[in-house]
Amino acid sequence: MGSFDEVRGPDGVRPHYRVLMDRLEEIGAEELADRSALLDSFFRTLGITFAVSGEENGMERTWPMDLVPRIIPGDEWRMIEAGLIQRVTVLNRFLDDLYVGGQQAVNDGIVPRWLIESSAGYVREAHGIPAPRGSRCVVAGIDLVRDGAGVYRVLEDNLRVPSGISYVLENRVAMTRILPVGFASHTIRPVDHYGASLLRALRSIAPHPVIDPTVVVLTPGVANSAYFEHSFLARQMGIELVEGRDLLVDDRHVYMRTTQGLKRVDVIYRRVNDEFLDPVVFRQDSLLGVPGLHGAARAGTVTLANAIGNGAADDKGIYPYVPALIDYYLGEEPILPNVTTYLPWEPDQLELILGRIDQLVIKPVGEAGGYGIVIGNRADEATLSAVAMALEADPRGYIAQETIQLSTHPTFVDGRLEPRHVDLRPFVLSGETIEVVPGGLTRVALNEGSLIVNSSQGGGSKDTWVLDDRVGDAVTPR
């Protein structure tokens, strides 16, 4: 099956793209190239760059954003939103069950116990750490793709420290400056309330008697590739951005060092991975964490968001069981289906995988960022036989999926609009309620034919517009 094109269907340009495509036509390629250059200098002056390891300070790359926005019609978005809320509700329930709820889903045989216990993201030390409101995935990034028939499918869940939301917000600001004419002709749901929504969610999970909690963002520091985002979010929320060395734990309470002395901290939106959080319990060589932080979380005097141990639910080996978990907890069908996945640790499925290895995608369960993925129909013989051996040696280390041809979207490349593959990462907030930011981050593989959209591997992004078609409830874009 070929790729689904977001803009052009069998009957020409799809209705929700007609106005935009006309506008782009009027502007013309030359003018678009000028605006594309403007965009680059816009991001550079603002310092919206990501560091490329090994390059000098002045050599950071700007964030590659494409001029052509992606548009999602209102009704389509409502379906996606419902599917995301359903999925994240279940993932929160599952994690809470796993760490403080007696592991009912495991006891009832929904997910095999050995699979959980062999997951690299499963953290024994997280047992007994309370999560107010059961909101363990306060910020979730759920990666969606569209198959050849245009069906949205979940490709993977990111429940630990998903990044990318700052680009969603900055892309929107950049687009209003570079392509105002596009905005004038659409009613687009805004995204700039994200900071307020995130802060509300974080405040809602403060430890019990705290009325007016102190919330901070914990970053690994300036050297981290997502530092821009950490700082951006702290600014959007109007709260402190701290590093491990700014915090200390005394008698199981967390404090930050301020010019006025020590100040209690109640909620930590941490962008530091589990294993670096606390050198007393996790990696002893970590300088990014805070000694005693785990003990404080366990004592319930501070809430960490996201919770420790969420990797057990976004393990690619657990992913195939999410539809069953949706049925188990909610008695519902998944609104957003998974990509068809085969499990190498099931002997009959291993046989199937090995027989069709040149048509499937093989993914290591523990990797992120597009690393280690082998796409069967693009790999040479040597790679395929190597991966087949790896599968047989370590079946738990991989999953196999049907190759999804990812939908394509016109993208401004070398002065022309060319179809490039895209995915979509919407962001879901769990606090008192579950809230989805309209749209999300559309990532685009800038290399022709490539299916890998990660920015570390030649990916860019697009502003993503969710059209507001609710009558009488129109929101004017800014």
Binding site: T45, L46, G58, V222, S231, T259, Q260, G292, R298, A299
Partner: protein, 317 residues
């Protein structure tokens, strides 16, 4: 605010002031030597390195091109302009959520300009323009800070860095130049004093307040004790004291407050004639020590919370 942020704000101010002072002094030295070819240029470059406190580390010959290169574009010199601005930019980056976007952009663009590969070439071709550009970039940063930053705690720490660096720099300039200038008479002395004044942007202001006769003790008085000139040592110390008052809050005077009060009073009530008589060198050295102590006490009070605590981090539930 976070102690670390306060400290980074403080150093952001210091680094930018240092870059500006360095550029200005380089500019003055460079063009002075062009005007007076008879002067001993290696001696002049040596003095400049001393004022900037890098004479011991400087590895090259005492000539204009290598010294300027060392002071402007040499990353191995932690006090070079490129290094100062680079660190100011690192700090500003870490402070993105505390400083205005305009201030961040001003520092970032400054850094990008210096990091341009062909920047070093420019010094040879048009030294005047390069130094002037650096100065106006620094002034842009301080102007943008003044125009866009709320007068909050962070702003006060940044101003403290600016002012303490400036006060120290003026003291050092006088220390190094005084030794040589104290005894000099006639034309040479006149030009040298002009260059001292120009090194701190004080020449025009001095002429307005006094006249062109350039009596050495009135120059000294102007740079040390003028109540209105923003680079005089006393003016800086008075501003520092005011900022510290605002930051310290109520309660009895702390070690920091006593330190600034002492050094400000010492400057304010001193008598130039008797200082010159009893030894200006010693006076300036004492001033520098006391200014340094103000920084030290300020760091203890604001940047070191919790360091003396006996932690009970490892107690389990």
């Amino acid at each position: 605010m976070l102690s670390r942020h306060a400290e980074d704000m403080f150093w952001l101010g210091r680094y930018i002031e240092r870059a500006e002072d360095t550029a200005r002094m380089l500019d003055v030295t460079y063009h002075n030597l062009l005007e007076s070819p008879g002067e001993n240029s290696s001696r002049t470059w040596q003095e400049l390195l001393e004022v900037l406190f890098v004479d011991a580390a400087y590895p090259g010959p005492l000539q204009g091109r290598p010294v300027s290169g060392y002071l402007v574009t040499d990353r191995s010199n932690p006090g070079s302009i490129i290094a100062s601005v680079g660190r100011a930019r690192d700090n500003a980056r870490g402070l993105r959520d505390r400083i205005s976007t305009e201030l961040w952009e001003a520092v970032n663009v400054f850094h990008l300009e210096l990091a341009r590969a062909d920047f070093a070439l420019d010094i040879d071709r048009r030294a005047y323009e390069v130094f002037r550009n650096i100065r106006s970039r620094c002034q842009l940063v301080s102007g943008v800070a003044a125009q866009t930053m709320p007068r909050d705690e962070g702003y006060r720490f940044m101003m403290l860095g600016w002012l303490l660096e400036r006060a120290e720099m003026t003291c050092r300039l006088l220390t190094v130049r005084y030794v040589r200038l104290a005894g000099s008479e006639g034309q040479l002395g006149f030009h040298a004093w002009v260059s001292v004044l120009k090194s701190v942007s004080a020449y025009e202001a001095y002429l307005k307040a006094h006249d062109a006769s350039l009596d050495p003790s009135s120059v000294l008085e102007f740079l040390l004790l003028d109540q209105e000139f923003p680079r005089s040592v006393l003016y800086c110390l008075q501003q520092v004291e005011r900022l510290i008052d605002r930051l310290a809050g109520s309660g009895g005077p702390t070690a920091m407050e006593r330190a600034i009060g002492r050094v400000r009073a010492r400057a304010e009530y001193c008598d130039i004639a008797s200082i010159v008589h009893s030894g200006l060198g010693q006076f300036l050295e004492d001033m520098q020590k006391e200014i340094y102590q103000v920084s030290e006490e300020m760091e203890n009070q604001f940047f070191r919370a919790g360091t003396d605590l006996q932690l009970h981090s490892y107690r389990w539930a």
